[in-house]
Structures are given as structure tokens and as C-alpha cells.
Symmetry: C2
Subunit: 300 residues, 2 copies
């Protein structure tokens, strides 16, 4: 049976297993010196999470007929960046969270100094993984382009910049455009990079490239809107973290800025935009459509 005939659930489970296996091999073993750092890196990365970024890499990459081994490496790179950002965000000087995916956060389990180094080392490992796509059939200029794209998505004009705006926004009133600008950096940039890097491992037309960017913008924003809705209506058991946390911390959210129902309407509109882009991309992009549904209809 061809991969395209599989149900989304079966496809997603198979890809999640692939990236888990690839991360297992990428991360130094827990008995390699420095042992405690490597143990903590594996604790931070393995066995958890929805792997949304890797799924986006695979879905965009399979649309672009990219070699699977290259997608494994790119998916690892995205997941390492995501995991590092969670480890640093959870630290006492940032969000001061003690629970992540139902487990003690890295700084609780291994101490703050190790948690900082885990994040630092995971970011470096992401770029090493990305460089390895050269050995898996991606042309060198495309690899260099991916390195630049991931660096900008992670940096001060992307994810780290979004975090800085988030810090400054605690207790402040943001309007909807300012909130959108923050989230486009904080979560949107890395989600968009996942789609872009997956596609860059293969080949797409310029027109499809633009459609993929449109898709990525829509799901990036939808992801955050749904996060904010779940922060209000979700329960701690399924979220694996404390519900109502963002609102309690005085952070502006879509729900606090727009209200709950308008936030739901916005999420539905963004899903429609994503569907439209997927329809224009054609049947090869159906997994991207499935992921958009997953992002908007998830309960945790």
C-alpha cells in the first residue's frame, strides 16, 4: 500500500516514529561524556510532544518529492530548536514552569545550569543536523539556504525575538495586530520554517512556494489562537500543564484581546485559508491539510 493511501493517523504515527528514531541516533548517548548533559538533552527531546514541526517537514517534503533521509534530518533540526526553546522558556528567569508534558521540567530534574546548557547545545545540534542533509541528497546551495532560514526563524527577528516581546508584554495591553506580530515571531516563524525546510529538501515551483508560505502563515497563527483558547477552556490533565497559566501571568492572549467566540471564529477562518492553499497545491498536499485540521481541532 502506498504511503498516500494511509489514513492520516497511520501516516502521522509512522512519521512521529521516524523522527523519534532519528532523534535517538542524533543525540549523543546518555553514557557519552559529559554524561549528565547528554542525559538531560535526551530527557528534553525524546518521548514527548506532538511533533507538529516534524510532521510539517515531512508533509511539505513529501509534497516536494524530497528524500526521506533528508527530511529526517531537517525534522530533527526543527524539533531540537523547538525543544531548546521549551527548556529555556520553562526556566525560573522566564516562565518558571515546573511541569512540561506531564513531567518535571529540565531545570527541575537537572538543575538550572544544566538546563541552560541543554538549550544551548540543542540549538547547536539543530544546525549540525541540518548540515547533514547534504549527505542525504539535498544540493549544497539549498542546504545553505535552509541554514539561513532556520537561523532567522530562531533568532532575534524570529522565535527569540517573539519571546522578548512576550516578556515585555506581561501586564501590558496589546491590540490584535501587536499580538499577531508577537506570535508570528514566537511560534509562527518556526512553524513556517518547518514547511519551508521540508519543501527545500525537494523541489517546488515558485507558485507552489508562495502557496506553501500562505499555508504556513495561516497555520502558524491558528496554532497560537487555539493554544490561547485551550489555555482558557482546556484541563490540566490533557494539556500536561497548568490551564489558565497565561491569563494568570497577565499575558495578553487572543482570548483576552478578542474574546473567546471571536477567537474561535478567527481559528475557523485561518483553517479555511489553510484549506484553500492546500486545495491550490493539489492532492500531493493532503497531509498539510490534515495537519491544519489537527492543529485547529486538537484538545491539548
Amino acid at each position: 500500500m502506498a504511503d498516500t493511501d494511509l489514513s492520516f493517523e497511520v501516516w502521522a504515527a509512522a512519521r512521529a516514529a521516524r523522527v523519534e528514531h532519528a532523534l535517538e541516533r542524533l543525540l549523543p548517548a546518555g553514557d557519552v561524556v559529559p554524561v549528565r548533559l547528554h542525559e538531560a538533552m535526551r530527557y528534553a527531546v525524546l518521548g514527548g510532544g506532538k511533533r507538529v514541526r516534524p510532521l510539517l517537514v515531512y508533509a511539505a517534503g513529501e509534497f516536494a518529492c524530497a528524500p526521506l533521509a533528508a527530511l529526517d534530518a531537517a525534522a530533527c533540526a526543527l524539533e531540537c530548536i523547538h525543544a531548546y526553546s521549551l527548556v529555556h522558556d520553562d526556566m525560573p528567569c522566564m516562565d518558571d514552569d515546573i511541569l512540561r508534558r506531564g513531567k518535571p521540567t529540565v531545570h527541575v530534574a537537572y538543575g538550572e545550569a544544566t538546563a541552560m546548557l541543554v538549550g544551548d547545545a540543542l540549538q547547536a545540534l539543530a544546525f549540525d543536523a541540518l548540515a547533514s542533509t547534504l549527505a542525504h541528497g539535498v544540493a549544497a546551495p539549498a542546504v545553505v539556504g535552509m541554514v539561513g532560514r532556520l537561523a532567522r526563524a530562531a533568532g532575534s527577528l524570529g522565535m527569540a525575538g517573539g519571546q522578548a516581546i512576550d516578556l515585555a508584554a506581561v501586564g501590558a495591553m496589546l491590540d490584535a495586530p501587536a499580538l499577531r506580530g508577537m506570535h508570528e515571531r514566537k511560534t509562527g516563524a518556526l512553524l513556517a520554517a518547518s514547511v519551508a525546510l521540508g519543501a527545500a529538501c525537494g523541489r517546488v515551483t515558485d507558485a507552489d512556494h508562495d502557496r506553501l508560505e500562505g499555508y504556513a502563515r495561516a497555520i502558524g497563527l491558528a496554532f497560537q489562537v487555539v493554544d490561547d483558547i485551550l489555555d482558557v477552556v482546556g484541563d490540566a490533565a490533557s494539556l500536561g500543564k497548568t490551564a489558565g497559566k497565561d491569563a494568570d501571568h497577565g499575558k495578553p492572549t487572543y482570548v483576552s484581546v478578542l474574546g473567546l467566540e471571536p477567537s474561535r471564529t478567527l481559528a475557523a477562518e485561518l483553517l479555511a485559508q489553510a484549506r484553500e492553499a492546500v486545495a491550490a497545491l493539489g492532492p500531493g498536499a493532503r497531509r498539510l491539510g490534515d495537519i491544519a485540521e489537527l492543529i485547529v481541532t486538537r484538545h491539548s
Copy 2:
């Protein structure tokens, strides 16, 4: 007058000015959102330091006839990684230092959360800078190789790993080989990467490549031995930090493990090794020889 006729001091000052200018342009301006993060990144990077890593990039790159604009970008990448490591090291959960290069450390001036993001964003910026060497005449496969090399030098088997071993070593007795293993990662890996990346922007023979690696290993270790000597015999004014700090923190140093005079002898031996490698490389490598002298004879 050709560059090769300049005295080392004039050459080094010119290269330090070049990298300062390149860093000025690479770092987002202080009025770009998020303003506080960008101000703090500039505070961390600009106007300070001996720029040893950039000088190594230029010296190795000029030996390899690399384009200067590519060396500017590679030098910026190395300096961004170095600067990020200092910002994170100084934080309360690590060394808890309040003074760096005679100025308040980043977390003192801007707060811990911003300091963490400064380090995170500078690491990303380093890889963006490295990717930009493609636009300055470096072949794409060489750029990809540089990305992998820098990532490994910065990661858990390089600099971040050395920090982790350093953390675990506080109050512990290390023997000389264990101390050397720690420093090869903590400072040696990035100094060696500086030489390797400079050379990779141009062309060297396989034999010269090996000589450059030997040179880099010698000066990497010498740098740390001299640091440890200065920690004991230096004064706070010229160091720009508190003398005797490492010994006070119970950290094993070359002086504590070998003694002061044997440490001086080791530094002299390493300088001789570096000189030997430079002599084998020929007259084009004289700046590398000058940098080795600078590293061993410096007073701060």
C-alpha cells in the same frame, strides 16, 4: 604597502576594526523591535574583547587566500558564538559574575530573561552569518562543512560540553589529562574552529590542513593555561574581572593541578609547538605565529 608588510599590531588593529564594523552591520540596530533585546545583543558584542577568534579567522583565511568579505562573515560567526557563551556563563545559575570587560554583565544591565535570550539569539545569528559566506565567494559545500564544524565546536561535544564538565568539576580533583579534556572542549574547540573556518573560506593542501589543526590544538590549550596563570598572578584592573576567581570557586586550574612554574613551562612548550607548525606552513602563516605569541605573552 602590501598587508604582509604591516607590523602585527597594525594588521591586528585593522582586522579588529573590520570585524567590529561587520558586527555593527550584522547585529540588528538598537531601534529595531524587540528594541531591548537588540540593544542588549549590541551591548554584549560590540566595543569589547581582544577579538582573538576573529584574528585567527583572518590569519588562517589570508594564509588560504580567502576572500576578505567571507572572512568578515566567518569572523562575526565565531565572535557571536563566543559572546553568547560569555553572556550565559556570567548568569547567576552559572558563574554569577557581575563584571565583564570592566562593564556590568548583560544580566546585570538588562535582567536575566533578556540575557538568556541574548545568548540564544546570538547563537542563531552566528549561523546566519556563516550561511552568508555563500554570497562572498565560498563554495556551497564548503559553507555546509563550516556550519557542521561550528555547530560541533559549540555543542555538547565542544564548548557547551566543556562548560558542563567544568560545572561538574567544581570542588573535584581532576588530573592533568582530565583538565586538558575539559579545556579542549571549553575553549579549544572554538579556537580550533576559528582556524578551520578561516582556512575553509579559501584553499589549503591536505598537509597544510593538518599543520593548521596542530597549530590550533597548541594555541587552544596554551590560551587556557595562560588564562589560569593570569587568574593567579594577574590583577583585576588589567583582567577586567576578579583575579583569583576560579581558584576561589574551587575550580581545578592548570596552576592548581600542575603548579605555577610547570604551567609556565607548559605554555612555553605549546608556544614552541605552534611556532613549529607555523614554520612548516611557510611565510604566509606569519600572522598565525604572531597570534600564538600574543596568546602566550598577554597580560590580560
